[in-house]
Amino acid sequence: MEATIDVQGVYKSFGPTLALDGMTFTVAPGQVTGFIGPNGAGKTTTMRVILGLDAPDEGAALVGGRSYTSLHRPLTHLGSLLDAAALQPSRTGRNHLLWLAHSQGLDAARVDAVLGQAGLDKAARRRAGGYSLGMRQRLGIAAALLGDPPVLMMDEPFNGMDPEGIVWMRGFLRSLAAAGRAVLVSSHLMSELEDTADHLVIAGRGKVLADTSVAGLLAAASGDRALLRTIDPDRAATVLEHAGASVAVAGAGLLTVTGLDTGQISALLAGQAVPFSELSAHRATLEEAYLGLTHDAVEYRAAEGVRP
């Protein structure tokens, strides 16, 4: 079986709210795919459709080329963590994994193995109702690993984790991808995924806004903008605009130049003897790139509310 998730043109509405508006993307094996977007972008709904929990109005989601609901022992194909709080409080963590294991024809030995992997051996025989948020996340991860699946899918796994937990989680996700698994991780904060994801699917308003590698996204967002500090902004602007650049005032004696790289700018200004004290290429952060992409989606929602 191919270790992939394939979301193909999925539409889903809840009453008057269009939650998914042709969501389409693919999760490839051997890397961590970050699924990022503001709250309400449709990330959780997409994952629920992938798991067969919500039936799409149109389109399909495939796991390894097959629909999830047709899978026999599905947890051996796709491990998922959607809601770590979804636990019967009076059942112990170990027993929670035990019934899941039994539903897949697995035994208690497998339960103890994943408890160790998730670092939850000590609390395993305590009631899940008394678990901290971080312990619940670890139990959820143990459940996702139970069937040793080639594909993993986690919804906001960093939520409620302490810094130590976040570091552990990052390493853990990277190691899963390094072992050849396809890993889809959602988040509404780019910073959480910055050093973890190899590939990004940026969603807004129920569809994909960008489906790109991290490097590609940065390059696209940075463009060929440069920052110029000069004591004669008027002359500098005239010279650069004459050469085809667009120039905007960014502050007192500060210009933003688009359309020329720093080498060209420096040569032009030197040739016309325009003095400048600072010239630097602008480097966008992932956060800026992400905000630039999702800005419209967020504003749209704020302005128009739900879509009929």
Binding site: E2, T4, D6, Q8, T24, F25, T26, A28, R48, L51, G52, L53, D54, A55, A60, L62, G65, R66, S67, Y68, T69, S70, L71, H72, R73, P74, L75, S80, L82, D83, A85, A86, L87, Q88, P89, S90, R91, T92, N95, H96, L98, W99, L100, H102, S103, Q104, G105, A143, D211
Partner: protein
């Protein structure tokens, strides 16, 4: 990058063991929540305890002393009433008796509104002419004059025409009509070994066979002759929350017979014998008599030859009274069963369940099997303990318990357990549909326990109460009925007396139908709704 455009492969056929795994997972789920296991244990315990408490509170005494009623037992092991006046002669293993009944008349007590008249009170005081529908007189062949011995009779009745009855529980209808001097009724019984055949005729020439009775082990010499008897009269005068109050008392029937002829008699003369009607008779009856003038015999008797059914006037408890606690146990079972699914909705666990077992119908089926099995086990253990313990307590308190066959007792134990199991499935299905345990539990209690209480306490008129007990899931309680409804006994069939309007398995089938319907609804919603 481009999306993989590989077409979806066709779904592989479900491999074997997938349902077994789901079933095992649901069983693991159930046993790992301590509250649910405790809940079912409580269900079993309250079933036993409430039964014992109810038994301990059920005292029966006669003027402050233990009652010493005789409770004859028929050839089939059931409690019987065998009280009548018998004019008889010995009969050999082959022979016959024939007679013409020219009239059947009687006397009924005049209602005074002061409750029941018991045996031994002034006979004929406040009586007026009249017959009970099941007053009877005619010919009878009986093993001996001991109460409860085997017999076969062909007889005329107050309102039910000519009949052939034998061994208390058997009743076959013959030609209709009550005999009168202008329209007498000829009757005949023939004996050939253990086989007795009853005939009726309008003219003594053209005979119709009414029925054939086989009485195994009938002695070579039996008693054959004429009899008359009449069951106690009772009328319900008031209905209250805690039962009915009525008035009534013993009645008398007189049969006039002539053209009496016997074949195959052994030497002996006509003897008049009163069976029952003493102080130790459980149901009220008056002593009878007979009078012979020429060829005409007038036989007068009081009582009945019939199965002793609860509500028929005799004091006694049916065995299902030891299981009144099942009502309390049922509440605990229903709560646990509803929570078995609603807890998953409440905690969002249903999504984990559906992700682990995407075939939702299988999940529902597995849950139903698990909750039914554990409820059945709890009910079985409770009933198996409550019946012997409860019987002991009831008897120790001076109560008479109607005997039942082993098969009936097994049905009572297994049926009570099955009723709990099916009620649990109903609660589970409603829980799956409504996703809220409080609403599901309230609905099941309203459908099972409320109608039962309404029927027991006679809040509704008997007709409406009986229809309710036929239609709603509470009909399942009929599985606990131990004494059959005998049409030839005119007792009030009341739920309080362990008598239900539907036969045991029919009532149970009504409950099953409700559970099946709810399960179908739950399946439909579970498949259609997003988890």
């Amino acid at each position: 990058m481009t999306a993989t455009q590989a077409p979806p492969r066709t779904a592989a056929p479900a491999e074997h063991g997938s349902f077994a795994a789901t079933l095992r997972a649901e069983w693991t789920k159930f046993r790992t929540v301590r509250g649910w296991v405790i809940g079912l244990t409580v269900a079993a315990l309250v079933t036993v305890l409430v039964g014992l408490l109810s038994g301990a509170g059920s005292m029966s005494s006669c003027n402050g002393h233990p009652c010493h009623f005789l409770h004859p037992v028929g050839p089939g092991g059931e409690a019987v009433t065998d009280t009548f006046y018998f004019v008889h002669r010995p009969l050999a293993s082959h022979g016959s008796i024939t007679a013409r009944v020219t009239s059947l008349t009687g006397e009924l007590p005049t209602a005074t509104g002061s409750g029941r008249v018991r045996a031994g009170q002034g006979p004929q005081s406040g009586m007026h002419p009249g017959l009970e529908p099941w007053s009877k007189g005619g010919l009878i062949i009986k093993a001996n004059t001991t109460q409860g011995s085997a017999y076969a009779a062909v007889l005329v009745t107050g309102d039910h025409g000519a009949r052939m009855q034998y061994d208390y529980t058997q009743d076959i209808a013959g030609p209709p009509g009550r005999p009168a001097p202008a329209s007498p009724r000829w009757l005949r019984l023939t004996r050939a070994g253990d086989t007795i055949t009853g005939y009726a005729s309008a003219d003594g020439t053209h005979w119709t066979q009414v029925g054939i009775a086989t009485l195994p082990g009938l002695p070579a010499t039996v008693q054959a002759g004429m009899f008359a008897t009449s069951p106690p009269y009772s009328v319900t005068t008031a209905q209250g929350l805690l039962g009915m109050s009525g008035t009534g008392g013993p009645t008398l029937a007189s049969a006039a017979l002539d053209h009496v002829s016997l074949h195959g008699t052994v030497p002996g003369a006509w003897t008049g014998t009163q069976l029952g009607a003493g102080r130790s008779d459980a149901s009220p009856a008056m002593p009878g008599r007979y009078h012979q003038a020429g060829g005409t015999f007038t036989v007068t008797g009081s009582g009945d030859i019939a199965p002793d059914a609860p509500g028929g006037g005799g004091p006694g408890q049916t065995l299902d009274h030891t299981l009144v606690g099942a009502l309390a146990g049922l509440i605990a079972v229903v709560v646990v069963a509803a929570m078995f699914i609603t807890a998953e909705y409440r905690h969002g666990l249903i999504r984990t369940t559906c992700a682990a077992s995407p075939r939702r119908g299988q999940v529902l089926a597995a849950k139903a099997i698990v909750i039914a099995a554990v409820s059945f086990a709890a009910g079985l253990a409770a009933a198996a303990v409550a019946i012997p313990l409860g019987s002991h307590v009831l008897r120790a308190n001076g109560n008479y318990l109607y005997p039942v066959s082993l098969l009936t007792e097994v049905r009572l134990v297994a049926g009570t357990a099955a009723m709990l199991a099916v009620a649990a499935v109903l609660a589970l299905a409603l829980g799956a549909m409504l996703r809220r345990s409080a609403i599901a539990v309230t609905l099941v209690i309203a459908a099972i326990i409320l109608p039962y209480l309404v029927a027991v306490t006679n809040v509704l008129p008997p007709g409406a109460g009986n229809w309710l007990m036929r239609l709603v899931p509470a009909a399942g309680f009929a599985i606990q009925q131990t004494i059959p409804n005998y049409p030839q006994v005119s007792n009030a069939c009341a739920v309080a007396q362990g008598c239900y309007p539907l036969a045991p398995w029919a009532g149970f089938a009504v409950l099953c139908a409700w559970a099946a319907a709810a399960l179908c609804g739950a399946l439909l919603l579970l498949r259609r709704r997003d988890a």
